[in-house]
Symmetry: C2
Amino acid sequence: MTTPFPVNKALDIIGGKWRPQVYCTLEDGPRRFSEIQRAIPDVSRKVLTDQLRELEQLGMVRRIDYSTEKQLHVEYSLTEEALSLQPAMKALCSWGETRDE
Amino acid sequence: MTTPFPVNKALDIIGGKWRPQVYCTLEDGPRRFSEIQRAIPDVSRKVLTDQLRELEQLGMVRRIDYSTEKQLHVEYSLTEEALSLQPAMKALCSWGETRDE
């Protein structure tokens, strides 16, 4: 198997319908599941759960459980690895904004 | 239908297995079909033909036919629109290079 092309390696991780939106939602800091879901109205609970788990396994998202006996409190945030992708995401975002339909 | 997310708009155009490689092959200047095919050994003739046609329809690639009666000579090059995506592609490329398997 030839080594995957570097751009493809990045797109395999951050491509797809939902990951860019999850990424941009977490760019401004840690969020709870319900906050992420509110920011991406079209995504279902199950799909968002799967995407967050995959991004966690890929080392892109950190999941921290602050829950107490009384209260469930889990937060998701971007890892340093993910934050180092910010220049590319910002460039893709501004380029995408200039594209008319 | 909600307006597509800007990053997704960009990824719809430049994502996928072959487009990043076609893009990077044309980054250094116009190329003939055979040169592109040589630069991407795994791609079939048909897939490369389709990808170039789609990129042309998307306004990302320009196809210029210099053929004469004696000789077939067609060149492909990136449009200004495509070149404006270079910062994003370079950032994706360098990030992808840092990703170990």
